[in-house]
Symmetry: C2
Subunit: 413 residues, 2 copies
């Protein structure tokens, strides 16, 4: 099933807000085997919304729309859709009750513009928005469907998961089962991995697809099985996953769909071990990545962001001879940092970084992008020097991913 | 001048990559007074690219295209554009020399598919891409312009800044000057600020526009002056900015276009003072925000991410009576954390956070989203309890911004 997305909002076209909704929708639909074929971003203007809608309905049967449903005067989507489908706005008691309930919960007083949220076209089916005041509207015409959803990500995601996806499958009588199995693979480039797996791919049953989703340092592999009988699909996806694991051995280091920080977290949880980080150039970003994972408090003890040499020396016990003799960006320094933080926070594993994120601070010998990373597991340490390309933000992001991967490597050797 | 953007790439339509290019382009064009009116995201398919191009050229005179220029077989943009403009691909020595130079610099060996990068349509003007191998192509037809750029953000940004924007202004004879003056305002909602500034807005000269760019906790105000004579514009924009400062007083706490972390950095740099953070629930994200600012090593000493109580006690000196009596998420704990880190890292200012980011760990008394934040400047401390809505990611992001703002408030009182 092909789907198009229309994203509405002036704020997107002046670059004030980045649209992350359509990527999320694409991933979710991908999971049920549906495909997003085009995304159109338009301003809060009736004519532009209508034109986009006409174009999309000329190509596909399902259009998902996000944004343009706030109570302010800029947001004219509701009236536009009402005109487009030839209805009129009517007061809806159920929507009003929902808006009231939300205001009560947030301890806010309603005004006229929030009351307006309760007016909906009489030619749509309202899907109640349990986490926000803007109603979700489902329109049908000639076997085609338009769903208009709020642009606030949590609201859109909630309503998609709770109601829209199942309703779309129902409407288009998509009763097939879809199963996924995702894993993470290290030490491969995408092209070498696809060579390695060419025989495996050739023998896959027709109901199973293999997708490569490369990210820096790691390739995510996803097996998708689609068919009528779930128990049968479960069996063959398990079989194929077992073959994959046999071919890739320890290169397949995580059998679930997660981030590197999540994969590291699983290993730590499984072993009942703990982690600490000592960060200079990554400035807390490794700790941030680790703590983005829900439940990380079980294994993450904490971090010392040692941005100044004084903190490296005083808190992490890096010797002043090392700092003056080899410099802060050196093998010797990161090795002392990683031991220092392991000792200070009494953790089983540790990560340390020191480098030059730029734009200033580079030299011929140590250009911007030079980052020393050390990892430690029990009594074993390893250190490596990287030279990352890109701006400050990218150097920090790449150093973070490399550090997490290095520790996973050391722990799974 | 109205502009449309066409974003090309299968990876965007399966949600594997988020498009940040078009937002960046919109912001840059906004700076010269040009407007992005629509963004279309299509797959790597010739027909879809051509259709999008036809639609866009039906509405505007300038189309900027990103993506679809890699050396792999999926990327068919170059051939599609060549056909669209009625040319053929020819080998271009200057592009080849550029590709060679880049491979030499990266110490890589060229293969056939990279050599293909040097083939370009004979109906376009090549703009050399100094940071990547994909050539930038400038097409003209009937007074309309299409510029095709690589999708790699650094490459696109470099070529836009170095060549494309100036060339577009030249081609469309846009010789007007544009000046901006941006500032940050605190303690206001957008609607109350627009009330406060209604007289100011009414008296603005026609050549000056005022824009409101709200972000959580802070509103960014931008004055834009557009006209022929730069020195005149400079004078009146300075005059109007002076009036703005007079009206808003200390609510206008930063006179430049920056983030909250950047604004805090300016205050610290100006006063020659230093900063440290002690983070529990924000898990290093405050340190990360601070160190995203280039040059932050001058004033940022570091951070202790005290995720476990043991670290709060042992490293930050939070007393065990406080932790057991009031809990980790309490006024008493964050106040001891903020003093503890100030002392440990010998900084002038400090920030501390402790809260429940979720999804687990909440209770009736302290639900998910409860965050205590303390800030300290010299001998003065302040603590406040927030209850943020949203998921784990959002709670962390909002706590981070609130903490930075609280310290700015304390320092500028």
């Amino acid at each position: 099933m092909n789907v198009e997305i229309i994203v509405i909002g002036d704020e997107l076209l002046i670059g004030q807000v980045t649209d992350t909704n359509s990527g999320w929708i694409a991933r979710e639909l991908n999971h049920i085997g549906w495909e997003v074929t085009e995304i159109t971003t338009v301003r809060d203007r009736s004519r532009e919304i209508t034109d986009a809608l006409n174009s999309s309905f000329g190509r596909v049967d399902v259009v998902l729309m996000t944004g343009g449903l706030g109570p302010t005067k800029d947001d004219i989507t509701k009236q536009t859709l009402c005109d487009y489908f030839g209805g009129k706005l009517v007061f809806d008691e159920s929507v009003f009750a929902n808006v009231e309930a939300i205001f009560r919960r947030r301890k806010l007083t309603m005004n006229d513009s929030t009351r307006n949220q309760a007016y909906v076209p009489n030619v749509c089916t309202v899907i109640q928005n349990s986490v926000g005041t803007a109603p979700v509207m489902w329109f049908e015409r000639n076997g085609k469907v338009l769903v208009s959803m709020p642009g606030v990500p949590t609201e859109m995601k909630t309503v998609m998961k709770e109601a829209v996806i199942s309703r779309l499958r129902e409407y288009f009588q998509d009763h097939s089962s879809i199963l996924h199995r995702t894993c993470l693979v290290k030490d491969f480039t995408e092209s070498r991995l696809s060579e390695t797996l060419s025989d495996f791919e050739a023998q896959l049953p027709a109901c199973i697809k293999l997708a490569y989703l490369p990210t820096p340092g790691v390739i995510r592999l996803r097996l998708t099985a689609r068919g009528d009988e779930e128990s049968y699909l479960q069996k063959i996806i398990d079989d194929e996953f077992f073959k994959l694991r046999t071919i890739l051995g320890s290169h397949l280091f995580c059998g679930s769909d997660t981030t590197l920080a999540g994969a590291l977290g699983s290993i730590l949880t499984e072993r009942g071990e703990t982690l600490a980080t000592a960060e200079s150039c990554t400035g807390g970003n490794i700790a941030h990545e680790i703590t983005r994972v829900a439940g990380s408090s079980v294994y993450f003890k904490g971090s010392v962001v040692a941005y100044s040499n004084e903190v490296k020396a005083r808190v992490l016990n890096v010797s002043s001879e090392t700092l003056s003799g080899f410099g802060a960006v050196s093998r010797e320094t990161v090795l002392q940092m990683v031991s220092g933080v392991q000792r200070l926070l009494s953790s089983d594993c540790a990560i340390a970084t020191s480098g030059i994120a730029g734009p200033g601070g580079g030299s011929v010998e140590k250009p911007v992008g030079t980052v020393w990373i050390a990892v430690r597991y029990g009594e074993r340490s390893e250190a490596e020097c990287f030279c990352f390309e890109g701006d400050r933000e990218q150097v920090i992001a790449r150093a973070t991913q490399s550090a997490l991967l290095m520790l996973i490597q050391l722990m799974t050797k």
